[in-house]
Symmetry: C2
DNA sequence: TCGTCTAAGACAGTGACACTATCTAGATGA
DNA sequence: TCATCTAGATAGTGTCACTGTCTTAGACGA
């Protein structure tokens, strides 16, 4: 398959494909001659995967690179997932004042949840701490563990469901793809559903409420 | 309070405050003379709110503008929330092929959830449809209602919890702020917690799994 | 074989976004 | 007094994710 065909089949413009090739997001095709390269179904699939992660999940190109690098991870499938989680997590903002405490709070939340398999240096420990730091000082919202507890329970449920739903017939990269797409797609879906559900449920409490 | 003080108290640079003033995100201060304007606690609070929405929730400036406009909404608090939900929702991408079906599927999901108070023209109906459209054709992931059902149940739980948690002592704008900050902050928190939970729970199933 | 098409690869340019900087004229205040 | 600050207008910056242009040269149908 030539690059123009690859472009037609996926809907991704040729210059964008070239860009992804340059960035190492898409493996090189089979170079038949210096002027003819052959692409195949593997490239089509990779391109579709990249587009879903970008368009649905807003994963930055930098994150996609980390994810591609993560596929090289040796060890168990669990190890692979852990590295991929870091790749997918946003880079935490530089700590401001109060990060020490929020980091301790984040660690306490994770411990209390019983998530003892989370690496001590997981990027998301810092992400959680950073979010708590940013909202500290704003009156409404999360002051301590109690406010977060319902979300911990929810996240736990979600994760169990998603891990259980993975298709055992796949190889490690297949499992990784399914996990990542699920994480990204359902994060978006859940956010949207939640806004819809809030619109619905606010009616019962505030449907007649005309307060100033 | 002068603009430099407002900047110090909030940590937002003066040029950024001027930018927000220009964009109408921050109300003008009290103009004592043509060269001296007085800002107060209301401005501090608004600035903190704007920063949380941008830094934690990645709400674009355009969305912040829609939100500010939404505060003018007459009618019930429920009406106010509905307009704010549209303001906070991303603008749906232009429909591609297959949008008709995914839109019908989105509507069916909402109906099946029993969310009959959602406006027929809610922006998030299109957002849900757009996401379903983008992942259609990728083998893993949401094919139909059954895949989405667990997320619908989860969103329903979340929304009930959050609506119930709102402080009844506030005025309509206070309620709106609490709702918005909660939505945005907890969406981020939940996404992070979920990645952490997946790292933990993947250990049980894949901790020894070294498949190729 | 000729002539047109298209590819690879290098590199420059674009557009959106969210600021950030500069400049001017005119107060303010130690 | 005079360095410092202000409002307001306008221009510039940095990042990100592409997108376009150009050159060289193989591919392929007539």
């Amino acid at each position: 398959m030539r690059i123009s065909e690859l472009s037609e089949q996926t809907g991704v413009p040729v210059p964008t494909i070239k860009y992804y090739l340059r960035e190492g997001l898409l493996p090189e095709g089979d170079k038949r001659t210096p002027r003819l390269t052959d692409y195949d179904g593997q490239h089509v699939r990779r391109l579709e995967l990249l587009r879903i992660l970008r368009d649905v999940g807003d994963v930055p190109v930098e994150g996609l690179k980390r994810l591609v690098a993560a596929t090289e991870t040796r060890g168990t499938v669990h190890d692979l997932f852990a590295v991929a989680a870091d790749a997918l997590a946003p880079t935490p903002p530089a700590p401001g004042r109060g990060r020490e405490e929020t980091r301790a709070l984040a660690d306490a939340i994770i411990e209390e949840a019983g998530w003892d398999r989370v690496r001590p240096d997981s990027v998301d420990r810092d992400n959680l701490a950073a979010t708590l730091e940013l909202v500290a000082g704003f009156d409404t919202h999360p002051r301590g563990r109690a406010d977060i507890a319902p979300y911990v329970a929810m996240a736990d449920q979600l994760a169990r469901h998603e891990i259980a739903a993975l298709d055992d017939g796949k190889d490690r990269i297949g499992l990784l793809e399914e996990m990542i797409v699920g994480q990204v797609v359902f994060a978006t879906v859940l956010t949207t559903l939640r806004r819809l559900a809030e619109e619905h449920h606010s009616h019962e409490r505030f449907g007649e409420d005309r307060r100033d």
